[in-house]
Symmetry: C2
Subunit: 365 residues, 2 copies
DNA sequence: CGTACCTTTGTGTGCGTACACAGAAAGGAT
DNA sequence: ATCCTTTCTGTGTACGCACACAAAGGTACG
């Protein structure tokens, strides 16, 4: 615990370059008012010494306030998006020393107009950085175009649209995740040659792109490893629970031997609760996302495995990334795939404590 | 990006309490020299306002140097402990603004005297915080006794000895992890009624406690879910590769129908490479830890699944925890189980980017 | 040669906290 | 009342950086 100052300070650089700290500061922030000679000399020494600014002192000195905003599908409590949001607010509180705040904007996922209208409200709020779920490619493209005009960085969460080159993306590699899910379901099938895919249709549309890509990965595995597997699809409609139950009844009456299924959205509990109600313990089910009702099924034994994609972490990391970029001027990683985690009843308890954060690679801006 | 100071500062509290910042500072650090009346008044306001110190300003002001030390089994490159160590150094660099340093001390895992001797050298080095792997309970007890005398916080990594009440523990719940492994291996067995457990004997002893606990969890699952499963154990000896190959030859000659096995240490590659050499693709193998050779087997298809325990994260979090405790005076969580992650070839790419860090719960010291 | 003006450079102050030190108040002994 | 402790409290400086402002140097032109 001895006192010491071994780190290079601006003062040290100034001394070595034979200029004042002010000049060094101007070079570091590439501001005007420095003679070419001085600039060159300072830059030279800067390179030699690999100067790392003390980010605490830096944040302390420039005590600005940063307003972030997020644009998410409107959601209820215990939804996937609720976890994402909670992660973001965790980060806001963790980095509260940087004077950041977060405004939330919600749009109706199934109405294009809503996205546009909400997006405009966000733009008016004057955010310094934005996190959004690019569920609607066309409208997202127009939206980020406006953000670009004001040089506002934006981060994509959950799914990615690389051509719109966001500052960063946090989400799962959906296709590979479906591939992995297939591997596990294949094991669960235990030689059975038939599998059912439960799909959720909402307002006539099949949920998200993520869901589609998971299916792709799933089919890719099956085609490669067991081409003779028969895959049936059953569409459910969420909004009419009575109808869904009828559809399930009907399906299992028609295919009584099928003992294995998967959902590629977060609504596995629809099937899990159905099995629980009908006392079917022999059916093997997989799904996505650790919603409360999914967890209940997992513990009750009607869902075997859940693939988690750490929504909280995605939210947390998005905000952290904005801080790193805007405040600490660190270089951030642009494509961040979340781990594909397989959760059973046995290991679920050790999943929630943890949250992932990106490796910190400090680079001068 | 407007200027603003909405956070409560020491100055604010001083003003409200009608004292000076010096007095508030004394109360905050529970130092002497404050009249009972002043102390009471300050504490009252402190509670009302839920004051959160600006840790950046705090770290900046008290620019002390902290020396940490770790006491690990000696290891080679690409070993499990090497990843732990690398995580620790990542943290040291991430928190370099706090002026921390880390000294490493290695002991021979299989020689009690070595632990004692290395431990004494560590004590002499005058560390402010220690991270150690408590592989030898008896000697660890004596060692932490001495640390306690100087009030030096210590963190257990990999395995835990709760009665020695470390500041924190980072590691996997070994029994549950074995239980989970059994569930997956059970699926892999696909109805086969015989399984082999490969064990590594080293200097006449069976590796670590962790290894034993995993076996316990494994047997617990099997007893519960498939009591008629026949479990064979095959001891290997690591140091004599020729002999191990002979033992494997012998075993598979005696049990040609066994197609499923697991190791509870990080040496699954011994078996995986054997299978590769003999061109056996039908054997299903599981193991622990993502060593380079294990990963190679995973990609070659002779290891089906690996259970990862994020050694890098364990190391990183240990150091982070010491910083939180010593420097930021945050309250730290004492028992931190790592997630139990199942890794296949499909999802391994998304595992390394990520590292877990604990949730930050700022509490006044 | 002086003034105006621009470019370049240096200095000073503040961010919120820690800590050393000085000063004030209170009490006791002479 | 004076002096000396012993509490107790306020002030000042430092931490490393950002930014505003002042000062210095140079050039152009009357």
């Amino acid at each position: 615990m001895e006192k010491q100052h071994d780190r290079i300070r601006i003062k040290d650089i100034a001394q070595l370059a034979g200029v004042s700290v002010g000049t060094v500061d101007r070079v570091l922030h590439s501001r005007s008012g420095v003679s070419p000679a001085s600039r060159r000399k300072v830059e030279e020494i800067l390179q030699q010494l690999n100067y790392q600014p003390n980010m605490y002192a830096s944040a302390l000195a420039s005590n600005k306030k940063y307003n972030f905003a997020c644009l998410l599908p409107s959601h209820s409590k215990e939804d996937y998006w609720d976890d994402v949001e909670s992660g973001m607010f965790q980060a806001v509180s963790a980095f509260s020393d940087f004077h950041i705040s977060l405004n939330t904007f919600y749009y109706d996922q199934y109405e294009f107009g809503s996205f546009v209208e909400t997006g405009n409200r966000l733009l008016e709020s004057g955010a310094d950085g934005v996190v959004l779920a690019p569920t609607i490619e066309e409208e997202t493209s127009r939206f980020v175009g406006k953000l670009r005009q004001s040089d506002t960085p934006y981060i994509f969460i959950d799914s990615n649209i690389p051509r719109l080159s966001p500052l960063a993306f946090y989400g799962q590699h959906a296709r590979k995740s479906g591939y992995f899910a297939a591997r596990i379901l294949h094991l669960l099938a235990q030689g059975s040659r038939e599998i059912v895919l439960f799909r959720q249709i909402y307002e006539g549309r099949l949920g998200s792109n993520q869901q589609l890509h998971r299916e792709e990965g799933f089919y890719e595995y099956m085609k490669k490893h067991c081409p003779d597997m028969k895959m049936r699809e059953l569409n459910l409609y969420v909004k009419q629970p009575g109808q869904d139950e009828m559809l399930l009844d009907e399906f299992f009456r028609a295919h009584p031997h099928i003992n294995c299924g998967i959902t590629f959205n977060s609504k596995a509990y629809l099937v899990g609760e159905y099995m629980l109600k009908h006392g079917r313990k022999d059916f093997h089910l997989m799904g996505y996302d650790l919603l409360r009702r999914n967890i209940a099924c997992l513990k009750a034994g009607t869902i075997d495995f859940i693939i988690a994609q750490q929504p909280t972490v995605q939210g947390y990391n998005s905000i952290e990334c904005l801080c790193n970029h805007l405040i600490l001027k660190k270089k951030v990683k642009s494509c961040n795939y979340m781990p594909i985690n397989l959760i059973a009843e046995d290991n679920i308890d050790f999943y929630f404590d943890a949250h992932v954060c990106e490796q910190s690679t400090t680079i001068l801006s």
